[in-house]
Amino acid sequence: MTAGVRRSDVLAVLPAFVRRSDSAPVRDALAAALVEILRRYRQLSAYAAAQCDITRATGIYLQSLCAEHGVFKQDGESDDALRVRALTAPNLVTPTAILAAANAILALYTSARAQYAESALDRWFVQDGSAGWHSFVGAQPQYLARLYPADAVVNGGFVRPSSEIGGAWAFADQLGRFFILRVPVLTGLGSAHAFLAADINAPVDARSFVADGSNAGGSEASGQLGMFVYADPSTALGAYQAIVNAVSRIKGQSVRWAMIADPRLGS
């Protein structure tokens, strides 16, 4: 019974003698009421079923279903975009996923991006001079198979993004399962900033309020008068910790890693 409810559906299940009369105002009123009740009931039950289905749910119901998948709605994200994320294989453990997690945090503070390297293949290889290759002492290693961005021309444009090695890396062991994440040095995050209001459309409203401290308990304290100084609550250490937390949640278990704030990546 999926079609809409009609008056005839209700009349059909009434006793025959009730149906017999063509004119029965009370019967018809009750039937009409039942039709409306059933229509509303169907509307609500269909809505309830749809809100239990991640492919059709909306709003808070969709958010709840997505949360069960470990996917949480972001500011400004549409229902459809959220749904797609929840139904897509989670982006975990891969270099791409780890760089994305780190860069999402870095983007709040700098345009510089994280770079990564791995211990087994990106290490500094040293030999005694008898081999046909050299150890790139004092030079950036040119391991062509690693498809570093610096070797893009030699490799015909094939590049592993964000894999710039930045120099020779020596590791204490040959166990592998270890990656390095280099991030830019974050500076000035804790600095205080004074803001001067600017209003292109109404220049008369653009002003800076400077107080002399004579009314610290009154208009100055209430914000009606004064220079507004904003100190970003973030610190470099806090930002680095956020990256560590994000990467630790999605990296593969047993894989070791280290994060290095590298001045060569800018700030």
Binding site: T55, L121, G156, F158
Partner: protein, 378 residues
């Protein structure tokens, strides 16, 4: 909303209605069967039992394990990106000829049946049908018509030619048309709900990042036809370096393929688990062996065909290594008359590892020339 409780019956709802009237409106109300109250309570109960069943079906359609029919088909498509295999008839073509065009023009109508005669391969005759109208002009004496199997499902694949393989089984305006060749693919059955659910779940597992299936699929997407994955502990000294060998059709690897796979795998492999992408090559292995039989070869039935077939079979799957003892075992296993095998070629086994390390290029071995010499026991 899967519930362990059964759906309410008409009697349940009538009782609830009567209790409601008596309890909240009129303690003396007549709610017996046939009463005025019962007229509308009865119709309401009938209608609401239907609503309860509808609710059950609505919510069953939400869950993979309970959805059926079109609901299941839609669910697996939207949530898993999996298309259900529908029932389909095999499709193909038939070549029809006639000696002369005396009967002139006409039409081979859609639905015209073609009967493939019974044969050793198929003991029962099989029926096919022309799948669309084919107009025939007055001078045509040979034409190919599209066909479909008369019934949906597998078992309809056919590829025959000759004067006595099939006939047109319905009357045409020209009765001299003969079927001289026919080919048709297999059809499919409607995928069972349980199979579809299982496939949807397997698909979901296969796309998980960091797993072998996802890594293999990523290489296939870049054009690889052959992929071999080796964990870092394949070598005696585990240095944490995993290997992925890729090759195009024919077991050759272009530089483009290794580079493209290397880049693509950055989105599928585990960061920190170094993965080196390398290529493959193909090598032919000539086999020359002296086979010692349990008796004089002249007094035993020939084992040559069995041994050669066994050799071919052992190289038939993708083989990246071989061992002489293993090959000797293959030959011995092919016939109980074999007592011993001594190889002239190959003279040494070919393991995967080279000097204890993974090779820069993985070799796929194929059987070349096989020369077997048979001797009796000394």
């Amino acid at each position: 909303m899967p519930a362990s409780e059964s759906l309410p019956t008409i009697r349940d709802l009538l009782t609830a209605s009567a209790d409601g009237v008596v309890g909240t409106r009129d303690g003396q109300a007549d709610v017996r069967r046939g009463s005025v109250y019962d007229h509308f309570a009865g119709s309401g109960a009938i209608l609401f039992t239907r609503e309860a069943a509808r609710d059950r079906d609505l919510f069953r359609a939400v869950y993979l394990d309970t959805a059926e029919g079109d609901d299941l088909k839609t669910l697996v498509k939207l949530r898993f990106g999996v298309d259900r295999i529908l029932a389909s008839a095999g499709r193909g073509t038939a070549l029809l000829t006639r000696q002369a065009a005396v009967a002139g023009a006409g039409t081979i109508w859609q639905g015209t049946r073609i009967l493939v005669f019974a044969s050793a391969a198929s003991p029962a005759p099989r029926s096919y049908a022309v799948s669309s109208d084919v107009p025939v002009d007055a001078s045509t004496t040979a034409l190919t018509v599209p066909i479909r199997a008369a019934d949906a499902g597998p078992g309809t694949a056919v590829n025959l030619s000759g004067p006595a393989v099939a006939r047109v089984d319905d009357a045409l305006w020209d009765t001299t048309w003969k079927v001289v060749a026919i080919q048709c693919t297999d059809g499919t059955w409607l995928e069972a709900a349980a199979d579809l659910r299982s496939r949807a779940r397997a698909t979901q597992l296969a796309v998980r990042k960091g797993y072998a299936q996802a890594i293999t699929d990523a290489c296939v997407a870049q054009g690889a036809a052959h992929i071999a994955l080796f964990d870092s502990n394949f070598t005696a000294a585990d240095a944490g370096l995993n290997h992925c060998y890729v090759a195009e059709e024919g077991f050759t690897t272009s530089r483009r393929l290794t580079r493209a796979c290397t880049i693509a795998l950055e989105s599928y492999r585990a960061c920190g688990a170094d993965l080196q992408v390398l290529g493959m090559q193909r090598a032919s292995v000539d086999v020359s062996a002296t086979v010692t039989l349990r008796d004089d070869p002249g007094r035993l039935p020939s084992v040559d065909v069995a041994l050669r077939d066994a050799l071919v079979a052992t190289f038939e799957p993708t083989r990246y290594e071989y061992d002489l003892d293993e090959l000797a075992g293959v030959l011995s296993g092919a016939s109980g008359d074999v007592q011993d095998v001594a190889f002239d070629k190959p003279s040494a086994p070919a393991p995967i590892l080279v000097g204890g390390q993974m090779p820069p290029v993985l070799t796929r071995y194929e059987l070349g020339v096989a020369a077997l010499r048979y001797v009796g026991p000394s």
